[in-house]
Symmetry: C2
Subunit: 330 residues, 2 copies
């Protein structure tokens, strides 16, 4: 038997239950991992609430996108892995079918990757969602380069931090936003050129000061909602705003006049565009592996929880007080 | 003296007055044209109402983007033109400083072009706004190609018709929308593959039938407003929606979930992006000249009015009953 996190209804963190379930055998094309660490994502909170891009249709339902551990069993037709390999999972599957919150995780082989040796299991459970998501928008699509101004909102999230790090490696200038003062120093330490605190500073004025009134080249935003109008004001003519989430609960108004006047592009984006395209996926995986093995970039971990404290771990994520990735150890 | 249309306050068509004003001398870099025909645009209606991208700051104010005629006087430093040349004007200037509604128009030389000999003056006053606008989105940016599905809304407008014609020349498949049945046959005759009447048909269902449930590759829309949500549903994964106007008076909601799920790009676009970039402007001018001289494409003219009926001509545009370009002859 294996301890596995499942939920029986949509709701707050308390719906997560630690069940004893039989250990599954991997089918053709699948791999079973003995899990060492699990990286938590906002996606799982949304999925648990029934507010994610996909919605659980059967209960009980597992969840979880990112785990690291060792290969424990291999289904037929899988090549490139052997028992005992250190691996981590990439969010390239449906959480209705697969979930990694547990002592063992069975996942499709295409969503399993080796990772650089210099990473701990906690770190290896904290790389794919954040670096591959930031990679797709900033490198695959925007092709950011030295001197580009990139505005990164919700910058203390793991994807925001990854975006800051990727900007630094390419020579682009990461301008970060956060609401209050509490996370400002942390985000500066993580590599932001400037942190704008939106509760107390005027975002457009601050961006104008930094960019000689030109605005930023790119925006990387998971919030949406009414703030998109402000982001459009802070964006340069011809600039692109990536919307990669829906954290705001308010309707998102399209900034029509700024878009027309400045020829702005507003691009919906998720990691699934990258992992569903074999060429982009391959380039992205290689980029992340190179980034973590050839530069001094490492994921920033906020705090670890044991598996039986998964409810507390989700509550901690929803408190928005974390600085970096929340990890569950198994 | 020269009869010149000016307005003294924002308002309905009746604010347009035909004044006698002294004939202006072209300054350095300017050309004076003896006007033969004027092409009317929605932009002038919006400008007259005070609702355009730029707003008149001094009255009386002239207006008008597109005229054809002969070169009548040439300012210092202008090369490439001689007195008597047949020319037409390109909307590459501010209507606060320049307007072409009148017997004579002084405009910056960079906004003056020779045009193919096979065009009448009425036709030559009806080419630049419509073909260059459609060119920029469909050719310069989208690079449409054979077999691409392009959804063209407000298709009976002159820019909509130009977009249909450019799709046909490139082998793309123009799917047009119009509200009722009254313009359907006209739009089919203009080259649309299919016309969807949005008052009586379900746009998404009709698009799905035509595209094997894939959605269209591109949308070219001047309406915005709440309809953008429907357009997003009708767009293919990875597709682009060009918003090039603001005809709707309702707020435009950003279609966040469709954008995230399908990785949609929603791009604000106006002709000014093309005419303000020397390389794009040059490519666009050449494209339009080639299109009109080497294919059988011609602008579709709805109706002509004499200059002293300019108020009626504007009212006709606002009636939305026209099929193609409204031209004023001088």
């Amino acid at each position: 038997m294996a301890k596995t996190v499942r939920f029986y209804e949509f709701g707050d963190a308390s719906v997560l239950k630690l069940d004893d379930v039989p250990i599954l055998e991997p089918k053709a094309g699948e791999i079973r991992i003995k899990v060492a660490a699990i990286g938590l994502n906002r996606a799982e909170v949304m999925f648990r609430r029934g507010k994610y891009l996909e919605r659980a249709e059967k209960f009980p339902c597992g969840l979880g996108y990112e785990a690291s551990g060792t290969v424990d069993a291999i289904g037929s037709g899988v090549t490139g892995f052997k028992i005992g390999d250190k691996v981590s999972t990439i969010p390239a599957f449906s959480m209705q079918r697969y979930g990694v919150y547990g002592e063992y995780a069975v996942v499709p082989a295409h969503a399993v990757s080796h990772h650089p040796d210099n990473l701990s299991f906690e770190e290896a459970a904290s790389i794919w969602m954040q670096y591959l998501t930031a990679y797709g928008a900033l490198i695959e699509y925007a092709k950011i380069k030295k001197g580009d101004f990139v505005l990164i909102t919700a910058a203390s999230s793991s994807v925001g931090l990854a975006a800051i790090q990727i900007c630094r490696v390419t020579g682009a200038i990461p301008i970060a936003t956060t609401r209050g003062e509490s996370k400002k120093q942390f985000i500066l330490n993580a590599g932001a050129h400037t942190v704008i605190t939106t509760d107390t500073q005027n975002l457009v004025e601050e961006v104008n000061k930094l960019t000689n009134n030109q605005g930023v080249d790119y925006v990387f935003d998971p919030v949406a909602g009414e703030f998109l109008q402000v982001l459009a004001q802070a964006t340069k003519s011809g600039g692109t705003i990536f919307e990669y989430g829906a954290l705001s609960t308010n309707p998102t108004i399209f900034p029509l006049f700024d878009a027309l006047k400045k020829g702005l592009k507003i691009q919906g984006y998720t990691l699934f565009e990258i992992v569903s395209d074999p060429e982009k996926y391959k380039r992205g995986q290689q980029y992340v592996i190179d980034l973590l093995s050839k530069s001094n970039v490492k994921p920033i971990i906020d705090k670890t929880f044991p598996l039986d404290k998964i409810v507390d771990a989700h509550r901690h994520m929803e408190s928005n007080s974390q600085n970096g990735k929340i990890v569950v150890t198994v």
